[in-house]
């Protein structure tokens, strides 16, 4: 397909001059054309440059594409014609006060004032410090009732507000309002010393420390023309797969607990801990904090560590396999998983679902296969896709990925791994440059986008956690299910609040 957008590579820095600067109309038309023909939105955001506001979109087909334009104060909403833009337009309206006219549901994303001190698009008064202070979507009728949950939930979990519109036990609509965890990370990343950057990347979402750290490290490496050695790339790949296993195993246990089948719930809880301890073995921290830095890693994997890790995986692998078999062969579990919270393939495409949530709806996209980074081009990543889009499909995809990831790690542990550990990992980025990095973290496509100014400072740091796409999938799953199925559906996605709130 011929396009005015520029083809770019994952983790390949280019000069900002090379980014095609289109008229808004051409940009608009071309973006609609690409996404209308099956392309997906990776990023679509605004940034200030020399006093003017510009837009930039990174789209993906079988390749990554970029283009930008000047931002109008108001513009005809793209979401109106093409759903995948809708979260991005809302985010842009909140961050920069640019109004997408005719947006089907324009409401705030994270509840904070815009950075330009222009009138708020949503008419919010930010002296009132409650994000939930807004007119929720309502359904009217004699037998309609609402259930409001959060921000503080009954478990040890992150805050968010859920509003169910119900008729009897049946959920007509679930509205999810987040923003409670907003910490201003994107702004902070443009202001702090280089030494703080990797630490902030590790704190975007603790359960995706490796995913976000890799995106930042690869971006900084590209901007400073450095490349980690082969050993570091293997270690980082092992770590990303470990993170996938930790979370999937934990959630399979939680799913089992939510259908009151307690043996796997307890076994998975314990085994997840064992996988977290493997990260501690590698770097001293169970969430891999203080491990990945631009240029490589801070800890080597000597043969002692490699052998211990190998032994632990050999020991735990049959246990994991057997618990998964137990879970999926138990009829009471199957009857609750199957058909619960189904999202159709076409809805999933429109919502732009990624990761296991997308693969459970028959969308096999996996960054590890499509835009491989690190050691992935040397690995054979199986194509996972389940057709049913329900809790069963999401659990199945995740269970399959656990066993695949264990195999991948074992394949990388057969030979000794040598790396020169990096020092501080502080990189000095090139001036007036642009880079986008994409990785397949356990929830799916995580991506960072960095623009530098003429003085090599970070002009704009854009973060996208896969949850930014997938929260609407959860909302869609709940339609026509029962409230008691909410925990089950919620766990089958287990989305990030803080990764979304930034």
């Amino acid at each position: 397909m011929k396009t005015d957008f520029l083809e770019i590579s994952n983790g390949g820095a280019i000069s900002r001059n090379q980014i095609p600067h289109l008229s808004f109309n051409a940009f608009h038309e071309e973006a609609l054309n690409i996404v209308g023909n099956g392309g997906k939105v990776v990023h679509y955001f605004a940034y200030s440059d020399d006093g003017s506001v510009k837009l930039l979109a990174v789209l993906r087909t079988d390749t990554l594409l970029v283009a930008g334009c000047d931002a109008p104060e108001a513009y005809p909403s793209l979401s109106n014609q093409c759903e995948p833009f809708h979260m991005f337009e809302r985010e842009m309206a909140e961050q920069f006060g640019i109004r997408p006219e005719g947006h089907p549901w324009l409401k705030m994303v994270r509840y904070h004032p815009n950075c330009r001190n222009v009138p708020d698009v949503f008419g919010n008064n930010y002296q009132e410090d409650i994000p939930g202070n807004y007119d929720y979507y309502t359904v009217e009728g004699e037998e309609i009732h609402e259930v409001a949950v959060g921000p503080v939930h009954a478990g040890v979990i992150e805050p968010g507000h859920f509003r169910f519109n119900c008729i009897g036990e049946r959920v007509l609509n679930l509205e999810i309002q987040l923003g409670y965890q907003h910490r201003g990370i994107e702004t902070l990343l443009t202001q702090v010393d280089a030494k703080r950057l990797p630490v902030l990347a590790e704190s975007i979402a603790g359960d995706t420390t490796v995913g976000h750290s890799l995106c930042m490290a690869q971006a900084m490496e590209a901007l400073s023309s450095t490349r980690p050695d082969a050993g570091a790339r293997i270690i980082r790949t092992i770590d990303l797969e470990l993170e996938r296993i930790q979370n999937h195993v934990g959630d399979l246990g939680a799913l089992s607990g939510d259908v009151a089948f307690l043996p796997p719930a307890n076994y998975c809880g314990r085994m997840r801990g064992d996988f977290l301890n493997m990260a501690l073995l590698l770097c001293g921290n169970r969430f891999s904090k203080g491990f990945i830095r631009p240029g490589g890693v801070l800890f080597s994997m000597d043969n002692e560590v490699r052998n211990i890790l190998t032994e632990r995986i050999v020991e735990i692998k049959p246990q994991v396999k057997h618990v998964i078999e137990l879970l999926f062969s138990t009829s009471s579990v199957r009857s609750r998983f199957e058909g619960c919270g189904a999202v159709s393939n076409s809805d999933a495409e429109k919502l732009g679902l990624v990761g296991p949530a997308g693969r459970a709806c028959g969308i096999p996209y996996d960054v590890r296969r499509c835009f491989p980074t690190e050691h992935y081009s040397n690995l054979d990543i199986p194509e996972n896709a389940e057709p049913t889009g329900d809790v069963y499909a999401r659990a199945k995809v995740r269970a399959d990925e656990v066993m695949q990831s264990i195999d991948l790690i074992q394949s990388m542990l057969t030979d000794s791994v040598e790396t020169n550990c990096v020092g501080s990992g502080n990189a000095s980025p090139a001036a007036s440059s642009f880079v986008v990095t994409v990785n397949e973290a356990w929830r799916g496509e995580v991506s960072h986008c960095v623009l530098t100014d003429a003085q090599s400072n970070i002009l704009r740091y854009k973060i996208k956690d896969p949850s930014f796409h997938n929260w609407n999938g959860l909302s869609m799953s709940l339609r026509d299910t029962e409230i008691p199925d909410f925990p089950l559906n919620n766990k089958s996605y287990n989305l990030s609040y803080c990764g979304f709130d930034l």
Binding site: V156, Q181, V199, S203, G273, L282, L326
Partner: protein, 247 residues
């Protein structure tokens, strides 16, 4: 049924005997920092400059465990000559000033409020408030309910409502958008109540210090009884703190 039993046998008995038996953590784990007061001024300054958290007090040669995220930068730079991290996970304190340390910690048990031991020593019900961290602290609190740690055997539980609880456990740097919800949860807990701050974010703002969206220290909003440092604190750090402070 047979399958369920087979799994049960394969899984075995996993609950740790801590605190009756000590647990030794792997050498790469970074717990209580030890400071060498005789390190050269130049080395101390280098470590302080490289510390992403500005957690090193150069003049007094102390490390602020409230700010510290235990990344090990200072240990690497000084090759252990100024700071070295031990595998001691018992690093919690009852007074904020004790977070500033050279490696000698005053006994947590001695500084805990003695009437709390009487009130909550046999049964402690806690409400957790997640206030804008990264979810790692929450995850390693949740882990305490798994069979290895089995928190409930000590009479300690996380409960679903502040009305059922004896105190709150706060994680995260308390964003502007969570402040009201946190304070309301605190108000809903009946007196006398406990406030436990978990993780670098809650203690000092952690990695997010400097952002106008967050609070740099829970103690500026509520009276904190127990400070648990870490990024995130190891589950054993949490367990050690709860058992030492309340038992």
């Amino acid at each position: 049924m047979l399958n369920t039993l087979k799994n049960r046998f394969e899984q075995g008995y996993r609950t740790s005997r801590y605190p009756k038996e000590k647990i030794a953590l792997w050498e790469r784990y970074r717990g209580l920092p030890q400071i060498n007061k005789d390190a050269s001024a130049d080395l101390v300054r280098q470590c302080a400059e490289a510390c992403p958290q500005n957690a090193i007090d150069v003049e007094n040669r102390l490390i602020d465990m409230g700010r510290c995220i235990f990344c090990g930068t200072c240990e690497r730079i000084s090759k252990g000559q100024f700071v070295s991290f031990t595998q001691d996970f018992g690093i919690s304190v009852a007074e904020k000033k004790h977070l500033l340390t050279d490696g000698t910690l005053s006994s947590l048990a001695d500084h805990s409020k003695q009437h709390f031991k009487k009130l909550f020593g046999r049964s402690l019900q806690l409400r957790q408030v997640s206030a804008a961290g990264c979810n790692a602290c929450e995850a390693d609190l949740n882990v305490l309910a798994t069979p290895f740690f089995d928190l409930a055997r000590f009479g300690i539980n996380f409960v679903a409502s502040p009305r059922h609880s004896d105190g709150i456990v706060v994680t995260g740097p308390i964003s502007r958008n969570m402040k009201t919800a946190l304070l309301k949860t605190y108000e809903a807990v009946p007196d006398p109540k406990v406030v436990i701050a978990v993780g670098s974010c809650t203690l000092t703002g952690g990695p997010f210090r400097g952002s106008p969206e967050i609070t740099e220290g829970l103690d500026s909003l509520l009276p904190v009884d127990l400070f648990i440092p870490g990024c995130p604190p190891h589950p054993l750090t949490n367990l050690h703190a709860l058992l030492t402070y309340f038992k």
